[in-house]
Symmetry: D2
Subunit: 304 residues, 4 copies
């Protein structure tokens, strides 16, 4: 199988490179991982699966969970969700608070923290038992009842999440948060604490390579149009101020997390998940970015 060979070759090439990245330091608990871990897993809609390295080790998916909370909220509210937040790249990380001020509390997109906090607020208003219901959603779409939050990680982040408290209260001051800020943040930190392996990530995200359908039972998770739009959003906004670079070098919609995970989606073809915990200066996995660039260059499988 060609894909398998390309993955193996790219994996070994990147694994031999000196990793210049740094472990995320802002969540204390995140430093307690093996910094040399490096795993890759791919799942195609034709049921081809292949993994290498630490592809079965669980890690904190962090911001990758923002795609899942958006998917659930989008499936519940449809297009009217966009009255609460935008679909534009935010320029630089540095600008996020500036732009909230300029845009009167409307986050620019669902993948910056401000936007994900608004999505959490929406889910809080629409779910009966938000924490349980969201977990049930993730377990159902992946047919994997073992997925779970990490209380340790959530607690660790809550203890130092001053900037997110600032963001949430700032948005609340513009009346774009309906619930109590501390409840919104609690739920938000729980979402980000989801733990999965690369293999499990591809099982969860395969619906976005499959036009919104569950690849097992063909049920609709989000509509075809919503699936395309979520992918478009990942393409333009998935990597903070490195989104352009990722589109440019990798050429696939994707999303990263500060735990060192990245998922990338080739619509109608496959999902690939990479994990390596040391991050580059923009906060994305150093080896993960390098691997995906190598992979799409070799496979010539980008969407462009």
């Amino acid at each position: 199988m060609v894909l398998k060979n390309i993955i193996q070759e790219a994996y070994h090439k990147v694994n031999s490179i000196d990793d210049k990245g740094q472990l995320a330091s802002y969540i204390p608990e995140l430093v307690n991982v093996d910094s040399e871990s490096f795993g890759v897993y791919i799942s195609t809609i034709d049921h081809v699966n292949f993994g290498i390295g630490n592809c079965h080790d669980k890690f904190s998916i962090q911001s990758i969970a923002k795609v899942l909370s958006l998917s659930l909220a989008y499936s519940i509210l449809g297009e009217k969700i966009w009255s609460r937040l935008g679909v534009e790249p935010s320029g630089t990380a540095f600008n996020s608070l500036v732009q909230l001020e300029v845009d009167n509390g409307i986050p620019r997109n669902p993948f910056i923290n401000a936007g994900a906090i608004v999505i959490s607020d929406i889910l809080l208003s629409h779910l009966k038992n938000p924490k349980d219901d969201f977990l049930a959603f993730v377990r159902t779409i992946s047919n994997n009842s073992e997925l779970n939050y990490s209380t340790k990680i959530a607690t660790s982040e809550k203890a130092v999440g001053y900037r997110n408290i600032a963001l949430c209260n700032f948005i609340k001051s513009f009346n774009n948060i309906e619930n109590d800020p501390s409840e919104v943040l609690d739920f938000y930190f729980d979402l980000c604490s989801l733990e999965m392996s690369c293999k499990e990530l591809t099982e969860v995200f395969l619906f976005l390579a499959n036009n919104g359908y569950n690849n097992n039972d063909n049920s609709t998770i989000v509509t075809k149009s919503q699936s395309k739009r979520i992918n478009a959003l990942m393409q333009t906004c998935g990597f903070y101020d490195e989104s352009g670079e990722f589109a440019f070098k990798v050429g696939l919609p994707g999303k990263s997390g500060v735990g060192g995970g990245i998922i990338a989606i080739h619509p109608n073809q496959y999902v690939i998940a990479v994990w390596s915990p040391k991050l580059n200066k923009k906060g994305n996995s150093y080896k993960g970015m390098r691997f995906l660039e190598e992979f799409t260059t070799k496979s010539e499988l980008s969407i462009f």
Copy 2:
């Protein structure tokens, strides 16, 4: 032919909508067009061609020319071109000068004015007769010797181009312009004054749907990798602060101009050009955006 039917249907639907756009006012000469014009043309790499409405009328392509100047400069310098400018979306139009200040004169991407001015400076340093050589490039790749600049438009813009003069001198103050600012701007205004019809636009841009190859003689205009990367840049940065919206609603790499033209590219499949001169509030063709949204929704042919 299905494509033809979809285009006809979308064209008539959008043409019947009340056009809420406004003619561009900042270049005096641009108001002298028939504001009701509306044309569409598609060319596939399989040599299918189809047009409707004012698809044979020439108009000022303005910023669409930035893709062509980038293509020529990129083919000459290769990747080292990115030491002079970035590949990230700029956030908002409103931020462009701010970000130049923060980023020390390095424009965020080649499609904001600042970036296109730097590209003009690069071409000025590398071409013998910049104005003639660039025109020759455009004529060659489209096999159309009738393409030309509009002296009227260029002169009209030069007379009021204070903001671009400001941008160019500002970048020069950071040492990121090599040539005399007034020469750089002269060349820049000439580039933007290129005139073409929708049909001609598709002939010029077909190479970006064809992995960088000329669809007629198979010669290499830019490399396959460069072609993919130019498309990725159009996807993330082609519509100023409406780039996310375009990716979200249309789902194709594209580029707009204040003359009311838009090109969009489906890699490995086709180029589509739309022209309607009244602009929405973000400076993109009102009907053009609506048409392309309708078109990709109906055809389900987005890249996502």
Copy 3:
């Protein structure tokens, strides 16, 4: 007495003007005042005192209290206080969060909310019973044991103080808050809830017209150098983004509050306090600003 005549004349002239201001709306409790109130009181270091209008009615002094908390903190820590915040005008109100981000959590001056919150944090770290000790300080310098906080106002502001919660947590994320943010804010909201009349305000603030000495018993409240510097800070930063305008039109160091109060100080001469609750667009008392302009123009008693 000349001063008395000038004050009477200016008072009646301004009182007859149509008041275009608006009551502050962001603290619910603040709207429960008589919007037509208008009082003025002056105290000179030569023991001349004169008042007019509602000069004996108590009102919420709000941000005017920031001068008092600064004075106490400055007298305790001396110049090393400036490692925690700056002495520069902040440009515009609109920029405050931006500049915190650019300046890594160091507020530009002690009179914007961010700066006053840092001062509250400092007092919290240095006072045994912060709330009681601060009140004792204010009572002592004015020899007025009836001064007090308003629980109603403090509670009202705490219930909607999302933006200040955002500010405090944002600064905490830069490690420039030592205590628990909710305790800092509690104390901050208490400070701002102090209630006084114009007459009482002049008694409290007379030390700043008297080189830092208590005008009754000649004890040192702050040093002469500190007194001059606090006055300089009021001159450049006392009126948010209307500080330049106040220096320009009134020409005295001063400080305003959203309760509609303003104090102004003529070093070595007098303190004048004005109160009228309707605010102009920049958040300063409409009649208060007009009165002080009239007063210093007529008296020619500005410091310039």
Copy 4:
């Protein structure tokens, strides 16, 4: 004489300090000065005059000239001048272009470059022979026919003034420049090239310590109200983003230039001029700032 002793003492103390400043580098010609120069001159309205060090050496007064062009324009147009620019501090140097964008081409005050360029434009519209007429104004108020521009300095700055060209054209794009940008800039660079000694500077600026009257013949140069307002503007905006620091530490209205000169005014008392060409990080004379701090601390003669 006490003043004389204080000046001598402060001069020697500061002169013995290691000067950590740097010569201005952005105007090539400015580096051709003796970097160790250090002069001080004071003139009181009671005709006391005293100088020390290089107080008779001429140097490029640069931005100090902005106070003179403002004075002339203000005396011609009166208050309606403020429809073209503001009276607020600009926050940080870094913000100037940002704020022009936010404020639609209205500079925040007459002492940032943007504001001084607008003042130049105003003079250009109102003077018959702008360059000659302005020089005549400066010579008349100081009764010194030997004052002159430096062609060398003006030419040197014109050759590299890209950032000012950017500013002027940017303001023009907002319709806040009436004349041709290149003529406005020519005049602006001429103004800034004025050369004087510390002694001559005090003669030119004595009117601002004298309520707008010429101290020799008692003629009105600007009105008393205008004089107070110009002083207020110097207090809040005279030192770019070190204006607060200067008010805080020195406590006098003043203006600096990148040639290393500073003037400071004590209304109703004196003008003091200092010159030392090495600049601190904010672009103000390192020794000059230190001297004035020492001087007002020792003399206790600040306005606060």
